[in-house]
C-alpha cells in the first residue's frame, strides 16, 4: 500500500513537497523538479524559501498559519520564482502533519501551476473591458449621429411639407403624389433613427423606465385607438379580450409598454390582409399575460427563432406597405426584458402569428 501511495505521489501531475517543522524540504516529487528547475538533490535539505515569492500582507500569513495550525488545509495562490528566475503562479494546498502527541512534524504542500490559466483569465478580462469600451463607444456614436441627422431631416421635412400643404401655391396631383411619397420616406427615416437610438440605449443599459401604476384597460384602449383607422382601411377587425371585472393595474413604464404593443400590432397589421387582429389580456398568478394575434401570412418555422434578432425582416412584400426597420421586435424584447417579463412567438405559415408577453405583477420600483 505504501509503495502504491508513493507511486501515486511520484506520478502526480501536481507538485508535491514535504517540509519539516522548520520549513526544510524533506521530499519533492518529479513534478516539483520539472516545474521549479531544482532537482530533488538540490532542493532537499534547503528551506522551501528557495522558491522566492512575492511579499504579501501580514494578514495573508496570519490567515495561512491560523488555518494550518487549526488542522485545516490552507488553500491559496502564490506568485513564485523558478530556479532560472522566471515567475509563475501556484495554487497551493498546505496542511500540517502531527505526531501522536499532537506536535507538528511536517507540512505537506500540493501545488498546481496556474500561470497559464491566470494569463488566459486576464486576457479574457482585458478583452471584455475592450468590448465593453467598444460597445459604449458604439452607443455614443449612434446617439450623436442620431441627433445630428435629425436637424437636416427636419429642414427637409418642413421644406417638403410647406410645398405639399399648398402654403406657397397650389400644386397639381402629380406634384402632390411625389411630395407625399417624399414626406412618407422622411418620416420612415425618422422612425429608423428613433429605433436605432432605442436599440442602442437598450443594449447599453441606458433606458430609464418611468414606472407608475398603470390601468391596463385604459392602456389597451389607447393602443387600439392608434390602430383603428389602419385596420379599418384594410378591412380588418380588432378583437379585444380583457377580463370584464377586477383591478387591472401594473407598475410599469406606460409609454414603453405602449411602444411594445405598437411594434407588435404594427407588424400584425402589416402582414395581415384578411381576418382579424386580436389583443388579449390574461391574469395569471404572478404575472399578466398579453397576446397580440393575427390571421396573417405567418412566419416559417425556419425564421421563427430569428424574429427577435436585429435587422431581421421576413415575408416582406414589395409594394406600398409601410416599410419597417427590422428593429421593432428586438426593441419589444428589450423593453419587456427591462420589465423582467418574457416574450415569445407562435406561428404557422398561412394561418397567422401570436406574440405573447408577460409582465410580473411584482415590479421592482
Amino acid at each position: 500500500m505504501l509503495v502504491a501511495l508513493n507511486r501515486a505521489v511520484e506520478q502526480s501531475p501536481a507538485v508535491v513537497d514535504i517540509t519539516d517543522k522548520n520549513g526544510i524540504l524533506t521530499y519533492v516529487n518529479p513534478k516539483f523538479e520539472e516545474l521549479t528547475g531544482y532537482s530533488a538533490a538540490e532542493a532537499i535539505g534547503r528551506s522551501s524559501r528557495i522558491l522566492k515569492f512575492e511579499h504579501r500582507e501580514p494578514e495573508f500569513y496570519k490567515e495561512l498559519w491560523e488555518t494550518i495550525l487549526s488542522g485545516k488545509t490552507w488553500h491559496g495562490e502564490f506568485h513564485r520564482q523558478k530556479k532560472d528566475g522566471t515567475f509563475y503562479w501556484e495554487d497551493d494546498h498546505i496542511s500540517a502533519v502531527r505526531d501522536l502527541k499532537g506536535q507538528i512534524t511536517s507540512f505537506i504542500a500540493v501545488k498546481e501551476d496556474i500561470t497559464e490559466r491566470k494569463r488566459m483569465l486576464e486576457e479574457l478580462e482585458e478583452k471584455n473591458r475592450e468590448l465593453f469600451k467598444l460597445d459604449t463607444l458604439k452607443s455614443e456614436f449612434v446617439s450623436v449621429v442620431s441627433h445630428e441627422l435629425r436637424t437636416p431631416l427636419s429642414i427637409i421635412k418642413e421644406g417638403v411639407s410647406l410645398v405639399l400643404d399648398g402654403v406657397i401655391g397650389e400644386i397639381n396631383p402629380t406634384q402632390n403624389k411625389i411630395l407625399t411619397t417624399s414626406k412618407n420616406n422622411i418620416d420612415r427615416l425618422s422612425r429608423i433613427i428613433n429605433s436605432l437610438l432605442d436599440i442602442s440605449k437598450i443594449e447599453s443599459g441606458r433606458v430609464e423606465l418611468k414606472k407608475k401604476s398603470v390601468d391596463l384597460r385604459a392602456l389597451i384602449k389607447t393602443v387600439v385607438s392608434l390602430f383603428e383607422a389602419g385596420a379599418r382601411e384594410k378591412g380588418l377587425e380588432i378583437r379585444v379580450s380583457v377580463p370584464p371585472k377586477g383591478e387591472l393595474n401594473l407598475y410599469v413604464d406606460e409609454d414603453r409598454i405602449i411602444q411594445v404593443f405598437t411594434n407588435l400590432i404594427g407588424n400584425s397589421l402589416k402582414f395581415t390582409e384578411k381576418g382579424h387582429i386580436g389583443i388579449s389580456l390574461l391574469q395569471k398568478e404572478n404575472e399578466v399575460e398579453f397576446t397580440v394575434s393575427d390571421t396573417g401570412i405567418g412566419i416559417s418555422s425556419e425564421d421563427l427563432p430569428k424574429v427577435f434578432g436585429k435587422f431581421m425582416q421576413f415575408g416582406r412584400v414589395a409594394g406600398n406597405g409601410e416599410k419597417g426597420t427590422g428593429l421593432g421586435l428586438s426593441i419589444a424584447k428589450g423593453l419587456i426584458g427591462l420589465h423582467n417579463g418574457r416574450i415569445w412567438v407562435e406561428s404557422q405559415v398561412g394561418k397567422g402569428s401570436r406574440f405573447i408577453f408577460t409582465l410580473p405583477k411584482q415590479q421592482p420600483a
Partner: protein, 125 residues
Amino acid sequence: MDNNKKKILVIDDESSLVEMLSIRLEVNNYQVVSACDGQEGLDKARSEAPDLIILDLMLPKLDGYQVCRMLKSDEKYKQIPIIIFTARAQESDIKAGMEAGADAYITKPFEPNILLAKVSQLIEK
C-alpha cells in the same frame, strides 16, 4: 405691419430651418422675429416683447437651457411661453428643458400641425 398679429421669436442657429419655419408661421398669421444664437435670442426676447418663443437647445454663446432659465427667472419676462425645439429627443434632455422652465417641447423633425397647435394653445392662454 399688422399690429394685431402675435409675435413669435424663433431662436435657432439653423438659418434654413428658421427661414422655413418663418414662412409656416407667417402664413398662419404670426409675425416672426429670429435670432441665431443664445445671446441674440436673449436680447431680442427683452427688446421685442414676443408673445411666444420657439427655442432650440444647442445654440452658440448661450445654450437654450440657459436662455430659458434666465427668462423664466425674470419677473418681467417669465410669462412669455417658451417651446423647446430640439433634435435632442432623449428623455433626459426633455426633462432638463422642462426643468429649466419651458412650457412645452417639440422634437425635430416636427409635425407642422402639432407645432401650430401648441403655438396657438400657448398664445391663447
